[in-house]
């Protein structure tokens, strides 16, 4: 019988799907419940939408619960997100109380009986107070390297009640006296953002976005935020432009209802001036096919971020066979093999230098792109993450 997992035979490394079937024999019949804050939008939801059916196909009783919250609760957890990532946010005792109440209400309403309960991110993290059975794991998708002290002190009390925590990078973790596992995020090669596209489909989308394909294209896909350094990308492009007639496409979301996004976009517009070869493309949220098409027409992908979460756009680009020039932010550097699948750079000048070197060497662009795709195939596909979770299920919920 063909299952959700069998679709991945053609794209995952040889033998992976069979290995996952064997691995799943060790946990068949066990139950897992994933809990997240939202059903749509965000990396956790994107992952769970595919992962839960795959686990079910392997004989694991997998469920996905989403917490119900008030508008006030989601405003509080948004502040908490920012504070945990180091921004200076004021969170009052009343706000913390809202967090506690919503977590208690959800813990009592949801069915959390399972061999392993995996809580995604901080929004539902407080439910651990009401745990009854099974192993509880906290899957933290955030960068906790420099949290605001009070916010982390608040959350840490909950974190201590878990059996283990999972982080996306070693550097994202805080000191905790429970086991801390490292699980890299992954991309789904069959999702709209990464699936193969026909030439006509690509053309249709790119024409609609108004990007001509008459010159080599340097692409950065990132929200219009300061940390993504769009001005640094423009500076790098100008260094390259003296030697190569190329285009720069900066495509991203994050502008609507976001003062920082609006300001950064305005600064980028000003820096671009009247250069017709710089294209600033505002994408709506979840513009998966547009991103897919843009990555496929790019010659080189740039990710000139100064600070980054994990930054799976790097893996997405490599999956499309593109070399990536990326800033030395931890998640980016973890994905690029320097000088093999692209370059890790420390400045706009460094980015310009490497982009120019690649445009001077089209054969290198092809070679790096091909190795990058294989690197992603073996390390950053959802099948690897499924294996990680099945292994954790076996290790953390022994029967």
């Amino acid at each position: 019988m063909t299952t959700a997992l069998d679709e991945y035979r053609e794209v995952s490394p040889k033998g992976t799907v069979d290995f996952l079937y064997r691995l799943s024999d060790l946990v068949k019949g066990r139950s897992v419940v994933h809990v997240s804050a939202v059903r749509y939008g965000g990396g956790a939801a994107e992952l769970l939408r595919r992962l839960v059916p795959m686990m079910t196909a392997l004989g694991v009783e997998a469920r996905w619960e989403v917490i119900a919250g008030t508008q006030e609760f989601f405003a509080v957890v948004k502040r908490l997100t920012d504070a945990l990532q180091g921004r200076d946010e004021k969170i009052t005792e009343d706000m913390y109380q809202t967090f506690r109440e919503i977590n208690e209400r959800n813990a009592k309403a949801l069915n959390l009986e399972a061999d392993m309960v995996m809580i995604h991110d901080h929004q539902p993290a407080g439910m651990v107070e009401y745990r009854t059975s099974g192993a509880w794991l906290w899957r933290c998708h955030l960068d906790l390297s420099q949290p605001q002290r009070r916010a982390w002190t608040f959350l840490r009390r909950y974190a201590l009640k878990y059996d283990a925590a999972i982080f996306s990078l070693s550097g994202f973790a805080q000191r905790l006296p429970i086991p801390k596992f490292l699980v890299y995020p992954s991309i789904d090669p069959l999702s709209p953002k990464n699936r193969e596209m026909s030439r006509s489909e690509i053309n249709q989308i790119v024409d609609r976005l108004g990007i001509p394909r008459t010159k080599p294209i340097i692409l950065q896909v990132a929200k219009f935020e300061r940390f993504k350094d769009p001005l640094g990308a423009i500076q790098a492009y100008r260094i390259v432009k003296k030697h190569h007639d190329c285009r720069l496409v900066l495509a991203g979301s994050g502008v609507m209802h976001d003062p920082e996004g609006e300001a950064v976009l305005a600064e980028a517009r000003e820096a671009a001036g009247r250069d017709p070869d710089i294209h600033l493309v505002q994408l709506p949220p979840e513009a998966d096919l547009e991103i897919n098409a843009l990555q496929r027409i790019a010659t080189i992908v740039l990710q000139k971020s100064l600070k980054e979460g994990f930054g799976v756009t790097v893996s997405e680009a490599m999956w499309k066979g593109k070399p990536v020039v990326g800033g030395n932010a931890e998640g980016i550097a973890a994905q690029i093999i320097d000088e093999v699948t692209g370059y890790v750079v420390h400045s706009a000048e460094g980015a310009g230098f490497r982009l120019r070197h690649l445009l001077n060497n089209p054969g290198l662009v092809t070679r790096m792109g091909a190795v990058g795709r294989e690197h992603v195939r073996r390390n950053f596909l959802i099948t690897r993450q499924l294996g990680d979770f099945l292994t954790l299920l076996k290790i953390m919920s022994p029967q």
């Binding site: 033998g15 069979d18 550097g171 086991p179 801390k180 550097a333 190795v371 294989e374 990680d388 292994t391």
Partner: protein, 226 residues
């Protein structure tokens, strides 16, 4: 038990291939300079030494990195100290009978290097060294061999984690005298010459795929001999 040079003679004993799945555990200790690196290498659990040397191959099973263990890779790529990186790169973990001896060698190389330096090289723009260890789960993969021909065929198609498990994990962490492959070829098939040949393959070749190729070549050359 067979002793002839034929791949099809059936042995009484069966070799069962075991693959493995690894999850990485963050230990929470990190080094920002080479002195800290040596101090922490001294106190971390041996599992972590194993992780950053032997099981490096499990994580880089396809693409060979420029440096063959996490310590040399970090020293060169993040600290920018090529001298120490090169000295650590030539440490072959298979030269040491146990992980404690390997630990001592790594510390001794770093200490010797630092004794000749007027400053302690540290990370300026790069990332600190994060110590980790593996949790390895053994996974029976349903593949067996009862003859050399079956063994050669299975090695060519088995999940590469099984190559890692039988060549590295069994021998160096589980403390078996030699790799599972050479042990079975010796005792199960009675092929001492081939067992010695496989035992002499240095697993520190660069990648698990290259190791797989070496195993296949050894079997093919043995089978081709008159």
């Amino acid at each position: 038990m067979m002793t002839q040079r034929t791949g099809h003679t059936i042995s009484d004993s069966t070799f069962t291939f075991i693959g493995c799945s690894e999850v990485q555990e963050i230990l929470g200790q990190q080094a920002e300079d080479e002195k800290e690196l040596a101090e922490l290498v001294e106190e971390i659990p041996l599992d972590s030494i194993h992780f950053h040397t032997h099981s490096y191959f499990l994580r880089h099973r396809f693409i060979e990195r420029a440096y063959p263990n996490d310590f040399s890779q970090w020293v060169v790529m993040q600290v920018g100290d090529h001298v120490l990186g090169e000295r650590l790169a030539v440490v072959d973990p298979f030269d040491y009978p146990n992980l404690e001896d390997l630990r001592e060698e790594i510390i001794s190389i770093i200490d010797d290097h630092l004794s000749r330096m007027s400053i302690i090289p540290r990370v300026v723009f790069g990332e600190p060294f994060h110590f980790k260890r593996s949790r390895i789960l053994e996974v029976p993969i349903g593949l067996e061999a009862r003859s050399l021909a079956e063994f050669r065929q299975a090695v060519s198609e088995v999940d590469v984690s099984a190559i890692y498990f039988h060549m590295f994990e069994a021998h160096f962490r589980l403390g078996r005298e030699e790799s599972d492959f050479s042990a079975w070829i010796r005792s199960g098939l009675g092929l001492h010459e081939l067992a010695d040949c496989i035992r002499s393959i240095n697993p520190y070749l660069g990648s698990l795929e290259r190791l797989r190729s070496s195993l296949i070549t050894a079997c093919d050359e043995f089978l081709a001999k008159p």
